[in-house]
Structure formats: C-alpha cells, structure tokens
Amino acid sequence: MTAERKYLPVLAAILAVLLLVAPPAKADDQDSNVEDFFGAYVGDAVIEGTMQFRDIIVSIEPIRNGFSIYTSTVIRTGPKRATRDVKWRAETQSFVQTDVPHVYQPMVRKSMFAEKRDPDLMAGDTLAWASIRDHTLGVYAMNVLEDGHYELRVFERTLTDIGMDISFVRYNDGIPVRKLKGKLARTKADVDNN
C-alpha cells in the first residue's frame, strides 16, 4: 500500500468533518425572504432629468399568505413641500403567494360567483405580479395596448444597510420613458410618544 492510499481514509474523514462543521453560506449570498422587507421606510426620490421630487413613505406588512405595500407619495416641484402645487397620493397593493417560489400575484377579493381565471394580456388585462430576487422586491405590471405595443412598469425595492433603494421605470415598447430613483431609511418605532 502506498503512503497516499494509507492516508486516504483519514483525509476523507477530515473532509467530511470540515463539511459538517463549515458554516452555511452567508445570508448575503442568498435571496432575501419577504419577512426581510417588513417595516416602515421614509425617504425621497427624483424623476431622472427633472426637478420633480417625491417624498415617500413605504410600509410593508404581512398579510395572510403574502404581504401588502402601502406607499404615500408627496409630489413637489421644488425644495419645499408647502407650495400651492404640491400633490399627494397613497395606495396599498396586496400580493399573495403563488405556486411558484418567490412569485406573488395581486390579491383579489373573493366572490362566490367569480370564476378564477388568469389575466389575458391579449384581451387587455393587466398582468401584475411581484417577486423576490436577491435582495430586491420587484412589483411589475404589464399591458399590451390596442395597437399591439406594450407598456411595462417596474417598481423595485432593494434592501440596503440603512433601508432600501427604490427604482421605478416605465417602458414603452422596450424603451425606458420614465425613471425614478430614491433612497429610503428604515424607521424605528417612536416609543417616547411625544
């Protein structure tokens, strides 16, 4: 028996022990879970190439089988909010898990008379869904318009050290026509209450 053969079982045993003891891959190497996004965030954003600013509050919360995203947006055209042309809108979107891992579909109110059917892009339906890829929660909405060209709206929220980066792009037949980028910080609960 050669020296190499003699030590092979020992080497194999050491390797096996090392594999068992080795720590799991870093969290950074894995896709985030939806729970990682739960929380409230505040920050601002700007539409690229314009002076249109947005003050944004986002709250992501768990719901049964999924999550909801509340977004409050103050639309201003200058550094100050308290101007005559300031606008505000708020919306909540809710998504529930599909059979595909990390893919969510819009929650629809259940009706005993409604027949469950997939959205039909060609019939003018909006195809909306959400997914988690790496550390990004993406919300997507797509339409094929009457003349056959398509619109795609991509809203992505990526976890960062302080909170999340947000990005919105609207594509018209594959060409980006509107881009918004911003940074939000994860908030802490105000326990002082004063």
Binding site: H102, P119, L121, R133, E146, G148, L152, G174
Partner: protein, 162 residues
C-alpha cells in the same frame, strides 16, 4: 341625351367605388409578401438567448401566419379585432412561466413579441423588428430582462428561398 350619359357615368363610378370599398379588407389578416419566406443572417454579439446565426421562417396559415426563429421558437398568429395586430393563442399560466407571443404591423415594419416570466419571477421580453430590405429583411432585436440593462442588436437577414 348628353346629360343622361354623364349621369350614367357618375352612377357607374359610384357603384365601382362602393364595390371597391366593400371588397377591400378592413384589416390585414396575414403578412405582406415581403415578410413571408425564409431568411437567415448573423447577429453580432448576443442578446439574451440569441447569438450568432439567426434564422427566421414565416408562412401563411388559415386566418394568420406562423413564424419560427432561432434558436428554437415558433408561434402561430391569428388576426385580432384590431387592425394589424395578431395574437398567438393564449395558453394562460403566465405566472408559471408559459410564454406569450403577439405581433403587429406598423409603419411598414413587422414587430414580433415574446414575453415570459422567468424562474425567479423576473420579466424576459424580446421584440424582433423586421424591416423589408433589398435582399431580405433588416432585423433589430430588443431584449428587456429583470436585473439587466436593455440590450439591442441588429442583423441583415438574407432571403434564401428564391
């Protein structure tokens, strides 16, 4: 006598015009001749799954047309309610990754679309734009995919069926 002759001519012209309008199709239900046939060329660089040699074969079928293209795609398109817009029969289940195809004619171009949600829930959309050229078609491919910048490539496709 002279007057009646002119009225007769006017009526005849009106009848012909009416017949022509009725006979003309309201919307194209298939492809113009210049897009039909076999075409091949080479794409410089790569756009998603499209790289190098590229083939496009199109033919008429009842109520529409079929298109097959590299590397391994094909779809049958039917005229829709909208003029110059063609739909592939929907197979649903888009969220499970089943692709959707459609096409349209605009400004002398044929645009063929394929859209798919990938296994990570991202979007993956190709637009193939074909423009008639002297010896075939000029093609531009646009690729839009989650997590990537939009890509574009082009190629001259030569007709090889004549």
């Amino acid at each position: 006598m002279f007057r009646w002759k002119w009225i007769d001519l006017r009526v005849r012209a009106l009848v012909w015009a009416t017949l022509f309008m009725v006979a003309a199709p309201a919307a194209a239900d298939t492809l113009p001749e210049e897009f039909l046939g076999k075409f091949r060329g080479s794409v410089t660089g790569n756009v998603g799954e499209v790289e190098g040699d590229f083939n496009m074969v199109s033919s008429i079928r009842r109520g529409g047309f079929t298109v097959a293209w590299s590397p391994n795609n094909s779809a049958g398109f039917e005229a829709s309610d909208q003029k110059n817009v063609f739909h592939a029969r929907s197979r649903g289940r888009l969220l499970e990754g089943v692709p959707a195809f459609w096409a349209r004619l605009a400004d002398g171009k044929l645009l063929v679309y394929s859209m798919q949600i990938d296994s990570h829930g991202g979007y993956d959309i190709y637009t193939f734009i074909y423009i008639p050229a002297a010896d075939g078609l000029d093609m531009t491919i646009r690729h839009l995919r989650s997590g990537s910048e939009p890509l574009e490539a082009s190629a001259r496709l030569k007709r090889y069926d004549r």
